[in-house]
Amino acid sequence: MNQPLQRSVGGEPVCSQGLRPLCSAERETLGVRECTCISDESDGLLEFCDVPLKEKKLLEVKLGELPSWILMRDFTPSGIAGAFQRGYYRYYNKYVNVKKGSIAGLSMVLAAYVFLNYCRSYKELKHERLRKYH
């Protein structure tokens, strides 16, 4: 039942008549979305009305559920390391590992580095402001 996938102009996956795209979660496949077309009739089997709280993304969590969502996150060292790894690969696959990568991928990292160093040394830098009386 799987048909080849076509992408519309906006980069969103589209399928032919009677089919709809089903995409993997970006976080599991490290920043790359893998999609296939499946039959429209298998609606009830695949669509969950209640997604478990643990698997929801941050933007899908309702405000009242936020404390319990935060507490459910994996705060073990391997969990935190996994989060950093996912974040790194998400950035890398979006800005660097592309066909026509530009200087922007590197410059954004360097700009963030400069900003973080500024925040770190703000305490000493605030004495160097242009004022009449220090």
């Binding site: 592309v98 590197l106 990292v109 580095y113 000493e124």
Partner: protein, 226 residues
């Protein structure tokens, strides 16, 4: 002014935790690896540059010396990237710390010398006496050559520290002078600003040259000893 000038060289510590570890590890993020034959532009550029540098630097060694290629290439990449990152505003440069440079220089120099003593003992000892010295001068010359041997790691470390620190200090001073002169006389401020631009260009060159010199000297010590 006194306190401001040297605050950028203090090792960064945040709430008692050493932030300097993260800063030392940061350049490794900028060198991604790729298993593909044809990778993205960033990785391709880095691979090309690395091939150029390794060919230039390791071609003088024999097969025994070429086992050090990985070590020397990582060394030049690390020092080069750390020095260049230090030229960004407000950043901390680990290679300005003498402790770090000594930690790089002494093990590498000692490794090269001990390899030489273990594998080619006679040749290594023969290095202490240059060819064709008159007989009365021999004792003094052996002492001088020993001193010059033991000063090599110190010179490696201090050369790198002093060059990078001096460059950063000059940039701070001339930048401060430009700012102070702006309200007094704009022409002098413009001249000082031109000097600042030239100095920054020099610093970019120095950052890369120092990395090259460090690695080249280690490779020369290695060449003597393999």
């Amino acid at each position: 002014m006194n306190e401001n000038l040297f605050t950028s060289f203090i090792t960064p510590v945040i709430l008692g935790l050493p932030l300097v570890t993260l800063i030392v590890l940061f350049p490794s993020l900028l060198f991604p690896t790729s298993n593909r034959l044809v990778s993205n532009r960033f990785v391709t550029l880095q691979q090309w540059m690395l091939q150029l540098v390794s060919k230039q630097m390791m071609s003088i060694h024999n097969s025994k010396g070429q086992t050090w290629t990985l070590m020397l290439m990582s060394l030049i990449l690390f020092i080069g990237s750390t020095n260049l990152l230090g030229l960004l505003p407000h950043s901390f440069t680990p290679t300005t710390q003498l402790s770090m440079n000594l930690g790089m220089a002494i093990p590498l120099w000692a490794g090269a010398v001990i390899t030489g003593f273990r594998n080619k003992t006679k040749t290594s000892l023969a290095h202490f006496l240059p060819q064709g010295t008159p007989t009365p001068l021999i004792p003094m010359l052996v002492i001088i050559e020993t001193i010059s041997l033991f000063i090599q790691p110190m010179a490696l470390a201090v050369r790198l520290t002093a060059n990078i620190t001096a460059g950063h200090l000059l940039i701070h001073l001339i930048g401060g002078a430009t700012l102070a002169l702006m309200s007094i006389s704009t022409t002098t401020a413009l001249i000082t600003f031109t000097i600042l631009i030239l100095l920054t260009i020099l610093e970019f060159a120095v950052a890369m040259i120092q990395a090259y010199v460090f690695t080249l000297l280690v490779s020369l010590y290695l060449h003597d000893n393999t």
